[in-house]
Symmetry: C2
Subunit: 431 residues, 2 copies
């Protein structure tokens, strides 16, 4: 039976040939399976491109160096690396691929007030706010900035009359975010000038900064001033379900947000503003145009991908999805429990009281778990809490930088687990 | 022979099953083959993620709308989309993949003066300057900025004494880049103030901006002022082989560069400064920290990938490589030939003379082919050249915005072929 035999040999040969392809196909189609590094990383790690003159191309940064039990623990900045663990879990859901020829132009959307904003970013910002219910988007202009800090300066520029004899006074209720006075005054602008605590301000023309939940102390804030000539800028960087119950859909004239605190992507430097008035939106856009001629489109597209992945987590009732705010709330509840236990064990520290109200997003009663701890050292002989903690290799930001008592410090609650655990152990041991 | 028959059926079945896998494997393993769109694009184009409520996720922007023979042609801005064609040719050589969890921290390199700079960016900037020979890097600090515009402001901040009674005077020889006065004065800073043409400046304390090759007219410039109290900032955005012969390795105190003009990636908003003095570098870094708390790490990594691909093109003598500066010079030589012919055909325009000297990089004599044409309308009855051209649906920037005669206009030479060709035809037809 020679024909049969030939046919069998061919069949066996084809099957054998198919095996490596099956294997290869599996590897190629699962490059971002947890534990498998991406082709780009492989490139950096194993195959330096020609012409790096022997030296391998250097890898992307990983943030602050890793810590050991006797390291200095730096909780001065609100570096949100706590969220890295979540994004590793999501695999390639938030991975971005940028071809070399993409988004090379200065222009993104010539018909939009914010002509340098990528349409997918605008779309995903609106979608996420509708998903969370923390801010109104209908009838608002979305503006993108290089972090919300740039949009903060843009708002001061847009709200300060160019023809005013005196700079417009910029105020905020103490304790206020330490960057507000620094960013307002570092260029000694003739348009605006820091004027301190809103509660002690006298006058009609002002810009009041309302940060809620407040940096540094997590308090829910409303504007304290009101006058026809006064304006308010609402900094809602922390108005997300992992930090505080969502009690209403905010609908202020100017609202600022950032991915740094909502998703943890501080390195992308992307913030956004929701602005009611078209002329204010136009002037804020003009500021960004003069300051940096627009905003990184690569980071806008990455932010759009990240925000989309967050919203995707809450589509339909499928609890198997990766859900950022669930992860964030679990972590923050656990960390605040650890902190309150450590403060109690130490006996020389006090913290703001925990409050709970109904969260419209979680659809249950939830506590506030601020991104920063506003820690007070109660020991009589300690007048400089930051200095006292520095002596124990814990770096925090002193209350006096927030227009408050130096017996207080601001402590970041968003660092990596290893650093946070060491901080907790050290704090509990202080007497 | 039942056994034979069974074996044959199994073999045939397995071969049939293998076919689709073979096909799938081909598609997956060649996602970036020219003409095949990437998985990311496929995702956007074909498979909107769950929860986009029916609407497909929007695609990244493509810059200004495409043009037809009767469109308004906008050559007001130096939008460098001419380079898109080159980067499409390079396939995935400059493609960047960013995992969702990468570079989330504010910090990139805590030991560096510029603590937010990605090490691969620093590495590739130094490597490219060594490849081209246009600027010294040994003994210099590299600083990254959100475009060179942010670093321009950072330099003014760093060079202006904080304790001076009067703002420091900022000057540049006319015609000067139209953004210099606008960016210097828009916040009415008490630290620095625009003081106009350097040639008419009287005094000791100043900051002189030296743009070479010069925007708008392509002239090779040196500082015109010199005094112990005076400082110079050299804007070398156009000191690359596609625009001008490389005649020396520049080694000024502060030198500014940007990917917008070197590689065409304006949308990434990445510029860099080479700074000799550590204290100046520290103050410039402080400006970027206060202004935007660092610079997009996504764009820094993309710029590093792009700069690496440019340097790779000039490794060893392999002329088969994709070479950016060869592409750029070919295009600029062709476009300037077309422009001079069109001006001659029209008879009412004049252009700067072409000059040629030896280029150390190309190792041959080369002409200057500026990124902008400094075009003069010689018609007696036309005093506003920009208005005249606008009447023929050609948008340019008027000479008076550069401190010069409005009979001159600045025309971008870096737009896409279709727009440039329409501009040339229209210009040649004007009498």
């Amino acid at each position: 039976m020679p024909l049969w035999r030939v046919f069998i040999f061919v069949s066996v040969a084809l099957n054998v040939a198919a095996l490596p392809l099956l294997l290869h196909q599996y590897i190629v189609s699962h490059p971002h399976h947890p534990g498998v590094i991406s082709p780009d990383q492989q490139h950096h790690a194993c195959a330096p491109p020609p012409g790096t003159s022997g030296a391998a191309a250097r890898a992307p940064s990983t943030g602050k160096p890793s810590v050991t039990s006797d390291s200095v623990i730096n909780l001065d900045h609100g570096d949100p690396t706590m969220f890295e663990a979540f994004w590793r879990e999501t695999g390639d859901a938030a991975e971005l691929v940028i071809p070399g020829w993409q988004t090379m132009s200065y222009f993104s959307d010539v018909g939009n007030v914010c002509w340098f904003m990528e349409p997918p970013f605008d779309q995903q910002v609106r979608r996420l706010h509708r998903t969370v219910g923390n801010a109104a988007v209908d009838g608002y202009h979305v503006l993108v900035g290089t972090g919300s800090t740039q949009l903060f300066m843009a708002a001061l520029y847009a709200l300060s009359p160019a023809d005013a004899a005196e700079p417009t006074s910029v105020v905020s209720t103490a304790p206020y975010y330490s960057s507000y006075p620094a960013v307002t005054d570092f260029l000694r602008s003739g348009l605006f000038r820091w004027a301190g605590d809103a509660n002690s301000f006298v006058g009609d023309a002002y810009i009041e900064l309302v940060c809620s939940p407040n940096n540094p102390d997590g308090a829910i804030r409303d504007a304290v001033l009101s006058s026809g000539a006064g304006k308010a800028v609402h900094d809602l960087a922390y108005y997300w379900p992992q930090y505080t119950p969502i009690t209403r859909r905010a609908d202020h004239d100017i609202m600022l947000f950032t991915v740094s605190k909502s998703t943890g992507h501080a390195g992308t430097r992307i913030g956004w503003a929701l602005v009611k008035d078209r002329e204010v939106a136009r002037r804020m856009t003009k500021f960004v145009e003069l300051n940096t001629i627009g905003v990184s489109k690569d980071s806008q597209l990455r932010a759009a991908k990240v925000l989309s992945a967050v919203s995707d987590g809450y589509v339909d009732g499928d609890a198997s999805r990766h859900r950022l705010f669930d992860f964030g709330r679990r972590k923050m509840v656990e960390r605040w429990r650890m902190l309150r236990e450590a403060a109690a064990a130490s006996g020389i520290f006090s913290l703001p009281a925990e409050t709970s109200v109904r969260c419209n997003f979680a659809n249950e009663t939830a506590a506030n778990n601020p991104a920063f701890a506003w820690l007070r050292c109660d020991r009589e002989d300690v007048e400089d809490c930051a200095g006292f903690l520095r002596g124990h290799k814990i770096l925090t930001r002193s209350g006096n930088q927030f227009g408050a008592d130096p017996r207080y410090v601001r402590v970041s609650m968003l660092d990596r687990d290893d650093a946070y655990d060491i901080f907790i152990r050290r704090l509990a041991s202080l007497k």
